[in-house]
């Protein structure tokens, strides 16, 4: 369980997060939606400790990050997996070395144990025969899958994905979305995803948080999103004609 209370974050003059509360539960895929520049990435990075909030608390399993000792923080990092917006694979390492990296950092497994685990997660994300390639030799969708494999290789309790399907075709997007949801369910992970993708919202949004101007404007499920009359949500989600029609049909039924 991940709880966020009253998070503020600004960079110089610009305040990006202005008091956000949220709760994320195990086994559930929660989505953060909002316009480009609304602070989704900053929010996620703050949860991970990459940005220190100006105010507010973040608690993992009931313990605030502020009250953790260095050793507890290290322990926590082992439980966190992150898929960055641009994949953030290490260019100088092969796919296999990339995925093995967290294992080397956090465990004392032997090389063959690590290789087994790497093979297992690469299969899990449907990537075969790419172990010895470098990230630059892979397509965007394959890179995303390697990034997911690297994020889940240590069996994290928390998984964060920053726009896991930006720049992917609709079909690959759905494959990635379903993959994340399956893993979340299978290992009871607390998963938080940033996205602009309305397909994802409809497909896997068990909980949706809409950010606007640094605040949580709306929260609900993918069913609620059809019914809501919150103007900001409606104008954001139903900005395309296709979704306007989908909504119309849904409301008529």
């Amino acid at each position: 369980m991940l709880e966020v209370k009253g998070i503020y974050k600004s960079f110089g003059e610009a305040s990006v997060l202005k008091g956000i509360d949220a709760t994320f539960e195990p086994g559930k895929t929660s989505l953060i939606i909002g316009q480009s520049g609304s602070g989704k990435t900053v929010f996620l990075k703050t949860l991970l400790g990459l940005h220190i909030p100006d105010k507010g608390t973040i608690s993992y399993d009931g313990q605030t990050t502020e009250s953790m000792t260095i050793e507890e923080k290290r322990q926590l990092k082992q439980d966190l997996g992150m898929v960055f917006q641009g994949s953030a694979l290490f260019d100088s390492l092969t796919v296999e070395e990339n995925v093995m990296f967290p294992l080397k950092m956090f465990t004392n497994q032997s090389k063959s144990e690590m290789l087994d685990r790497v093979d297992f997660v690469l299969k899990r994300v449907n990537l075969k025969d790419s172990n010895h390639k470098f990230p630059a030799e892979l397509s965007g969708g394959m890179q995303k899958r390697v990034a997911i494999a690297r994020a889940i290789v240590t069996n994290p309790k928390y998984l964060f994905c920053d726009e896991p399907n930006s720049g992917l075709d609709p079909r690959t997007s759905i494959v990635i979305d379903n993959l994340i949801q399956e893993i979340t369910d299978e290992y009871q992970i607390t998963t938080v995803i940033n996205t602009h993708d309305m397909n994802s919202v409809m497909e896997i949004g068990e909980k949706i948080i809409f950010l606007k101007d640094g605040l949580k404007e709306w929260e609900g499920t993918s069913n609620d999103i059809f019914k809501t009359d919150n103007e900001a949500v409606v104008s954001f989600v139903y900005s395309s004609n296709l979704f306007k029609k989908v909504r119309k049909v849904y409301l008529e039924e």
Binding site: M82, F84, A88, D91, S92, K104, M105, F106
Partner: protein, 246 residues
Amino acid sequence: MNYIKSIGAYTIMLKSVFKKPQKRKIFWEAVFREIDDLGVKSIGIVAFISFFIGGVVAIQTALNLEDPIIPKDLIGFATKRSMILEFSSTFVMVILAGKVGSYITSSIGTMRVTEQIDALEVMGINSLNYLVLPKILATVFFYPFLVLLAMFLGIFGGWVAGIATDLFKPGDYIAGIQLDFEPYLVAYSLIKSVVFAFLIATIPSYFGYYVKGGSLEVGRASTKAVVWTIVVIIFSNYFLTQMLLS
């Protein structure tokens, strides 16, 4: 004002760099990768430049010594001195600052703008320690060998130039090399190279690590890093020479 701020930030960076590595295995892998990238891959250019500059210095000296009263072994002596004192350390290090410095800034800067540094931090790694300390170890231990190589090949290049041009006799040249050998001068050059190696590893790292923006900024940061590394090398060369030779 900005300069003082940067020097402060650079010093603070060094504090994080000099921490105990968290995982020895990951750290040593990085060290060996850096020795290869920053050191071994520079052997070629250093060898090429030293050999030919040594030849040119010998030829220039020979051409300027028309007067028959000046002993012919001066050519070998002058080539040796200039190779050992300035060329092998300062000149070679300035070239490495260009080659290796821009590589360091662009590789760390790219890691910054593509969130690879964030990814390291999420995995609980002190990214400054992991990225910069191996570079320092690789350059500080490897570059003195490059300097020795440059000395040797430069002097050798002078000898080859004598044979190729017939401007001076190889025997005289060798006598000149053997004349008045001072080991302290070699040590002086090696000490300088250690200091310069440290600068080459750390100044470009600083520029790369704190870059903000995208690939354009990474390119700009690389240029700046090379300029500043060379400026600081030339300055410290001046002070080190005063300290060590006077």
